[in-house]
Amino acid sequence: MFRPIRFLAGSAIALGFALPAFAAPLALTGAGSTFDYPLFSRIFYEYSQKNPSVTVNYQSIGSGGGIEQFSQKTVDFGASDVPMNAKELARAGFPVIQVPVALGGEGIAYHLPHIKKGLKITPDVLAGIFLGTITKWNDPALAKLNPGVKLPKMPITVVHRSDGSGTTYIFTDYLSAVSPQWLAKVGRGKSVSWPAASSVGGKGNEGVAGLVQQTPGAIGYVELAYLLSNDMSYAKLQNKAGQYVYPTLQTVAAAAATKPEISATDFSIVNAASPESYPISGYSWALLPVTPANASHAAALKTLFDWTVTKGQADAASIGYVPLPANVQATAVKDIAGMKE
């Protein structure tokens, strides 16, 4: 007669003896930014394929939660869309290395009947629209930039992210850089108080994209990866050099390459000066302890991030992230070398 209990017990014992034959893989844990999540999933998967002795468990709970958990040492590394500031570093109470791991750009998406992509927009006009001073699509300021385009007499609906996000930080950082009025009235942040009377908030990139696609007359900012994979109309934005450029992997990388020596205190790359660069882009950051609390994880953590900022970047483009430019990679590698093993 088959005795399930004895069978189970027997199997368990057999397994118990068999298990030590395989060394349990070292599990590194991280938490933070949701923006990094798709890229991390990809990079860490590739890494585990090549190094079966290490697995990485990353929880995308948001930058705030990431900084919190990292500061309390409950995870091996954190990730945040905006680097930790002096106050947050003081609260953590231990030395931290912050390196850029992901580079992204943002496009200005709009929905106008009969007008395909390529509407020209200047920083002034963009700020005016988001401040609520330009409220109609046939405003003279817009018409002057787009001769030959028949702009409709339609009210502008401003669409923004309703959830706190690094995307909003980069976008408001850009507006603050190009418009003194925006800087004084609104400022930069992951959530801001939107001044335009016609503004509505959508949750996540999909929320903003959905609202723009459904609302004739809408304009909003959407992450590059999302913009390229959805059939949306987006604007040519005038950069600091006066050129009108589309957001692409190349123009965003060009912007990043203008500033190789970025650091956690000087990290903004919006409104870059070179003629081929797209002006709205920015980094997301990994937070690493100089001396990991769990000493046995130190070497693996160091190797993992060394790989993430160099070889791992090769996978970025295929999922809509911009690979870190070579000179930024070099800076990051130098910083990671400062970790104690």
Partner: protein
């Protein structure tokens, strides 16, 4: 017998413990929210309740638009859902053929099993355009003289949110009310009919008064769900922290604000302000419930024996 006494004793202890657990959880929740929102309570005081500026960059927080959006969207939803729910419950329990009633009942109850994110997506991609292009203009054409239906019609707005909430809470009202109506003993109806009343009169004067407290309870349960609903409202309400009389303008609810902003909130005061919103939601739920009970007690007294 001692064994029997022991059993009863044990049973009573378990029953009391079960109740105590709920009370402790509620109390604990309240305390945790109170502690978490302390920095904000101290910094903004009562101003938090009636100021409207929500500016994370300047660290200035006022909760009024969220309170307004939560209460208004939920009350509109309850108003619509109560009518639809109670009337359909009456139809299913009293007037529909038995087989049809069973089938329709299951269909409506299935609505309750749909995850709220699905309601949200459907609301954003299907209902919002319909509100913007069909329902909104129609309401504006007929009731445009009322301030509730004036101004630019957005797709994502208070009305869309209220409609989605209505759909989500109708099953609660309907399902409980139907069971209550079906539970009224048949002899009461027969007695009323024997006195010469019509079928409708039996329902109106005998069945409805009997189930009134229970139906009211169902509405409160439904309201609780509407007040706390997060993801579906977030997707269709427009997330604009401002107060507008027009239902065509976007709004914001407490639960949506917490869901939207909590993950990326980094300053202490900011987190604390969000927790204070959570505390307010708890207080609002309790207040509305209490007000409802007082109202019920009053109408029951005036309406004679219920």
């Amino acid at each position: 017998m001692p064994a029997r006494g022991l059993g009863r004793h044990a049973f009573m202890s378990i029953v009391k413990a079960a109740v105590a657990v709920f009370c402790l959880v509620l109390l604990g929740l309240f305390l945790v929210l109170l502690v978490g929102s302390w920095p904000s309570l101290r910094h903004f005081g009562l101003r938090f309740l009636w100021t409207s500026r929500w500016d994370p960059v300047a660290n200035v927080f006022g909760g009024l638009p969220f309170i307004y959006g939560t209460v208004v969207s939920s009350l509109i939803a309850l108003l619509l859902a109560a009518w639809v729910g109670i009337l359909s419950a009456l139809f299913l329990a009293e007037f529909a053929p038995r087989q049809l009633s069973g089938l329709l009942g299951i269909l409506i109850e299935l609505l309750a099993a749909v995850p709220s994110v699905v309601f949200g997506l459907w609301g954003l991609f299907v209902l919002a355009p319909v509100v913007q292009n069909v329902i909104g203009p129609a309401l504006q054409a007929v009731f445009g003289f009322l301030p509730f239906f004036q101004g630019v019609i957005y797709g994502v707005n208070m009305l869309t949110a209220s409609l989605i909430l209505t759909l989500m809470i109708v099953p609660t009202v309907m399902s409980i009310s139907r069971d209550l109506v079906a539970g009224v003993p048949g002899r009461y109806r027969e007695a009323t009919l024997a006195l010469g009343s019509t079928r409708w009169e039996a329902v109106r004067y005998v069945v409805l008064p009997m189930v009134k407290p229970g139906v009211f309870g169902a509405c409160m349960l439904a309201l609780g769900r509407a007040l706390g609903e997060t993801i579906a409202t977030t997707m269709v309400i427009g997330n604009r922290p401002s107060i507008s009389a027009s239902l065509f303008a976007p709004g914001y609810t407490i639960a949506s604000a917490i869901a939207n902003e909590f993950t990326e909130a980094t300053s202490n005061l900011y987190i604390s302000a969000l927790i204070e919103l959570g505390l307010l939601l708890l207080v609002i739920s309790i207040l509305i419930n209490a007000a409802g009970r007082l109202f019920l007690a009053r109408i029951s007294r005036e309406g004679g024996p219920a």
